[in-house]
Symmetry: C2
Subunit: 418 residues, 2 copies
């Protein structure tokens, strides 16, 4: 059987499963999720054996220790995967929520109700725990999902997929609700991206290269973000101690993620009061500073920023710093170099805060808080499957509700159009 | 200047205009809309002269009288275009609506607020009034729009575009908020569809050929529907008089539109009581019936339905009719041949109504009402720019709110992530 025939068989099975999933109860979905959590615990040894195969291969290929770390499963990771499944089971069911209902002058009662999207293609890299996270969110929102993970995690992903499938069947849900593509060929991804008749949406998660590949080859709508070039603007009326804590947190707490700060913008009126201590704190934490000429006046050891530093997503302990004339220049800078992801202002002034909130074109805009809060869990969505920086469907972090769409339902008593 | 350079200059100007539009007040937008209405009235003679050029060319090329009719502007059409502008001005502004706000345990106040999508590319055929309708809805929702109409309406569209632009400028809004592409070359559409850096969404409106062309060539997300293959299922417990009126209305009131019924499904238990009178009424109205074998038993002159009739969008006085064993078969038929557009059931039974509403996968599902109500105005959205049958962003009719997206705004007082 050709690869194309095999992938098509999977997407068709997913479509059929999605039809059944439309009408299953919350109880049934939650039962499956809890069985999955139990399955992970019961079959721990088997999972770790398969994970060991991936690790052995990765070591042989000389994978870096950071990546090996992401690939590694152990008793603790498995326990936290099981807990995450329990948490998704405990979240409210988004399907069936009525988001509005109104009466028309002719007596028609019109409502909008959340329904599953249908079939989701989820394409990702390395971490095998993402397999379980993504599958559980898709299922809870009533969707069938086809998972294509990184080739380096294939053994781990396949055993996890098998356990998920078994749990679905024990809960009397269609096994094809969650399917792991059983091959490492990139061609499989390309074929999946062409199945527009069966697949409703593609969600990729990984580096910019993966996202570009998916976007370029997909005939199916893609929800994704390329990168997070996030700014904190420290206004001239900022509480400087607060600004220092927020900027430090935004850069240093977890520099490798998309909602970390990459450029700090500082009002020239407080640069002298703010920058020396702030820059020293960054330097002590090992952050490399790439500064505009004015910044360099406050820190002799800083590197001069190159033009390529302003649009850069460093994902590392590197920070571009620019002194600006005021809010206007900060807004222009963000408009030019921002990535529609996360932007923050630190200020005590109402008018500045309001203008920043209104004018900045990003999925999450914050006043006096760290950029690190752009995250479905942190914002109260309960969980997150990813962040979308294209504005269609769901701008920003995507939780369970964002994995649904809404249809109109209309209750009439014989109305016809005149 | 090459065509590509010219189109790019337009999309870049639109992007700049969109940035300004983000922060304009409702008053300013409504003022522009009212000035447009006045402009249409004041410059009637000029508009009709340009329209006459299009008509002369179309007649020379032997355009059918139905299409000529769509292309023709007169004093009455212009008045109704001006009224439509006044109506859009009277609609509430969707931008800035807070759709939710909540407090997190750490004190962060998180809100979701509607913002414009940005730049919309609107691609359509024939009717010049669509130029004004689409532009007004995009502007009211705070978006810049680039309009590419049919080549046959180029003179009409250009003069309308000029009037809209003048009104924008009188209202001190950027003239590039509404731009008509000043060429009939199809290559211009292809170039527009590649400007993913500047254009946020493409909305095509027209025949299936146009929609497929746009979908195949676009790097930008497309909101569209290919076709409406809408069904009415007459249940065995239907009120037969009501069923007859609904089916007749759904087929005959305006057969050329996407929400007209194309296939009628009839429960076998009431086929004998329902079909003879229903089919006679259709025949008297000039409707050609294409029936399944059982239907033919009730109407000797009907044509037998071919397999190609079940997925067909006739857009004409033609109706496929099938007698089914029950709700299950009706649901299967709709699942197989429906287009996710509009589906209706006529029944007096609560359980059947509920199951149909829940299980049918269409943007609008109705009980005891005509399919013709799938329309933004009829459902109470105030206006409509089109219908989307892909499930992303906005499933079904798209009004002003559907021309926006939502961002998160976060009010903190120094929160950092731990």
């Amino acid at each position: 059987m050709s690869l194309e025939t095999r992938i098509k068989a999977m997407t068709q099975a997913a479509k059929e499963a999605a039809r059944e999933l439309r009408r299953v109860s919350r109880d049934q979905k939650d039962k499956a999720l809890r069985l999955m959590a139990q399955g992970l615990m019961k079959r721990e040894q088997e999972i770790l054996r398969e994970n060991e195969k991936d690790l052995a291969q990765a070591k042989e290929q000389g994978m870096s220790s950071a990546l090996l770390d992401r690939l590694t499963l152990d008793a603790k990771t498995l326990r936290s995967m099981a807990e995450a499944l329990e948490e998704v089971a405990a979240l409210p069911d988004p399907v069936g929520e009525m988001t509005g209902m109104w009466k028309r002058p002719n007596g028609l009662a019109v409502g909008r109700v959340r329904i599953p999207l249908g079939v989701i293609g989820f394409i990702y890299e390395s971490r095998p725990n993402v397999t379980v996270d993504a599958a559980s969110l898709c299922l809870k929102a009533g969707n069938a999902v086809i998972l294509k993970g990184g080739s380096e995690a294939i053994h781990s992903n396949l055993i996890l997929g098998e356990i998920l499938k078994q749990s679905l069947q024990e809960a009397e849900l269609p096994g094809a609700s969650i399917q792991v593509i059983p091959t490492t060929e990139r061609e499989a991804t390309r074929i999946l991206l062409q199945q527009e008749e069966d697949v409703d949406v593609i969600i990729p998660r990984g580096g910019e290269g993966l996202i570009r590949f998916v976007t370029d080859h997909s005939r199916i709508p893609v929800l994704r973000h390329y990168k997070g070039v996030c700014h904190v603007y420290v206004d001239e009326f900022a509480d400087l101690a607060m600004a220092e804590d927020i900027c430090f947190n935004a850069k240093v707490q977890r520099p490798g993620v998309c909602n970390a700060m990459e450029t700090m913008l500082v009002h020239e009126g407080i640069a002298g009061a703010f920058l020396p201590a702030m820059l020293k704190r960054f330097r002590d934490a090992g952050v490399e500073i790439r500064g505009c000429p004015k910044t360099l006046e406050y820190m002799a050891v800083a590197k001069p920023a190159e033009p390529s530093d302003w649009p850069a997503e460093f994902l590392d302990l590197i920070l571009a710093v620019k002194v600006v004339k005021g809010l206007e220049e900060a807004l222009d800078h963000i408009e030019t170099y921002g990535s529609n992801h996360t932007e923050a202002i630190v200020t005590t002034r109402y008018d500045r805060a309001r203008r920043f909130l209104e004018e900045v074109n990003a999925s999450v805009v914050l006043v006096n808080a760290s950029t690190r809060f752009n995250d479905g869990n942190q914002l109260g969505l309960g969980a997150e499957i990813g962040i979308n920086t294209s504005k269609l469907h769901a701008f920003g972090p995507m939780g369970l509700a964002e994995l649904t769409t809404q249809k109109f339902i209309v209750y009439g008593n014989g109305q016809i159009r005149t």
